[in-house]
Subunit: 276 residues, 2 copies
């Protein structure tokens, strides 16, 4: 056992440390510092600019919860768009649904994808799926300018609102999403911790409400984010994200570790202090 610890420091007050078995990647890309290492308990871990993004041991909570509530409740799921998600976990969960004919993924940092392909094969298991159309580029520009058929579902899998992800929290970006989203479409995003980042969580909800007719946050675990409770949000013109298409959910439940229909419905319970 090594004596090296990796620490994420959250603001000035909290640190989550993991014992490192082996360093795999330490590199500065055009956009951010990329670190990959093997941890004693969490398997392989990706950190960007010093912030944990994903780990083999617990990524299923985050990826299943970002993807399946929307994928089991959207009216159609033929065409999917993933913005960010460079580790490949979100695209993997999307592509578990056989109804998906095409999944376009727009990730800004080619080096993140390359590092994850090389070192996180257990997370990105769908890189070779012929339905995946991976494009290296700016998701903000894509939703603003792309000449594309509309998408039935859009997933935003970005990092915290610092560095390359800052613009992913703006009203302009959400309006771009509505431009490429089908009228019956559902937009699902990670929306930070309602406990440790309460201000950011609330700002995301307000900004979404200015753009979408219906906005439903939901909640669940994300162990390495170190805050006890994480949130994701479904936004649409009026789709009820708890109206589950049982046939889709039943199929997913045979492959999921956290997600099932009870978990899906339960996740939409809003903590008392977040109700208006």
């Amino acid at each position: 056992m090594t004596n090296e610890w990796y620490y994420e420091q959250f603001e000035n007050h909290t640190r989550l440390g993991m014992r490192v078995r082996r360093r795999l990647v330490t590199e500065q890309s055009e956009f951010q510092k990329i670190e990959l290492f093997e941890a004693e308990r969490y398997g392989r871990v990706l950190a960007l600019d010093g912030v944990y993004q994903t780990s083999e041991a617990e990524e299923y909570f985050y990826h299943e919860m970002l993807v399946h509530p929307a994928m089991t409740s959207a009216p159609r799921i033929r065409r999917a768009l993933v913005i960010g998600g460079g580790d490949g976990g979100t695209a993997r969960e999307v592509l578990k649904h056989p109804e998906v004919e095409q999944c376009v993924m727009v990730e800004i940092d080619a080096r993140v994808v390359e590092a994850c392909k090389a070192h996180l094969p257990a997370i990105g298991t769908a890189w070779d799926d012929p339905r995946l159309d991976l494009r290296i580029g700016d998701g903000i520009a894509f939703v603003k300018e792309a000449d594309t058929e509309p998408f039935d579902v859009i997933f935003l899998d970005g990092s915290d609102p610092i560095g390359p992800s800052t613009g992913l929290y703006d009203e302009a970006f959400y309006r771009g999403c509505t431009r490429v989203l089908a009228p019956h479409g559902v937009f699902a995003l990670q929306s930070e911790s309602p406990f440790l980042m309460r201000g950011i969580f609330l700002r995301i909800q307000e900004t979404l409400r200015r753009v979408f007719g219906r906005v439903d946050p939901y909640f669940g675990p994300a162990p390495i984010y170190g805050c006890g409770i994480w949130s994701w949000t479904c936004a649409s013109r009026g789709i009820d994200p708890t109206a589950i298409v049982d046939a889709r959910a039943e199929r997913i439940e045979t492959q999921s570790r956290y997600y099932n229909r009870d978990v899906h419905r339960g996740a939409f319970a809003v903590p008392n202090d977040l109700r208006r």
Copy 2:
């Protein structure tokens, strides 16, 4: 801002660090090492034998979720027993219910109670409630030997199964609880993390099933336990813990920060990989 960090190290692999503003108590009692400090983000924090127990900033998740599912679904809640819970948060939540006529609390370590009374007044707000009968003593001996009227609800608020809490995870202790529990009574306990302490979580469930007719785990956040998902469990002869008495829950919702009826029902959704 000081540069002192307090770390809980979990097994050999993970550390959760908090920046310390000020140390309040560092003392070895007859049973354990008691530490209290003021943290930069979490307010005042209690650690026992190096393990975080509670903090002003997020204790409401844990205490509300330990107490209110049982208190809003048990047929009667006139007499309550709390085992452990030396910070006073569990007794405080129990005593928010006006139906409670007596709450007996059995805590083994007088020094924990004294330190928390002195330094965590925001958590233990019910020490002077005339319905509270605080006894310093061994909870295991109490449930085995006490000559007492039966209790309608029993709460086990103990620390991890090391040190003075080890015996609180044994079948013999649970059998003791049934001895002092009314036939219609409900026993609610913290049952560790189903993710980071999966083995312990499963063992608790199995042991409870040997003793009680009905055992329902439920799940929620506990930020400073650093594992993304915590569990509690209701055990009884056959009471459905999701059959909520609305009048009681409505009253509690006006005072709670996390708990409400949607959260209550949603918490009983079992993660897919924990279903049999």
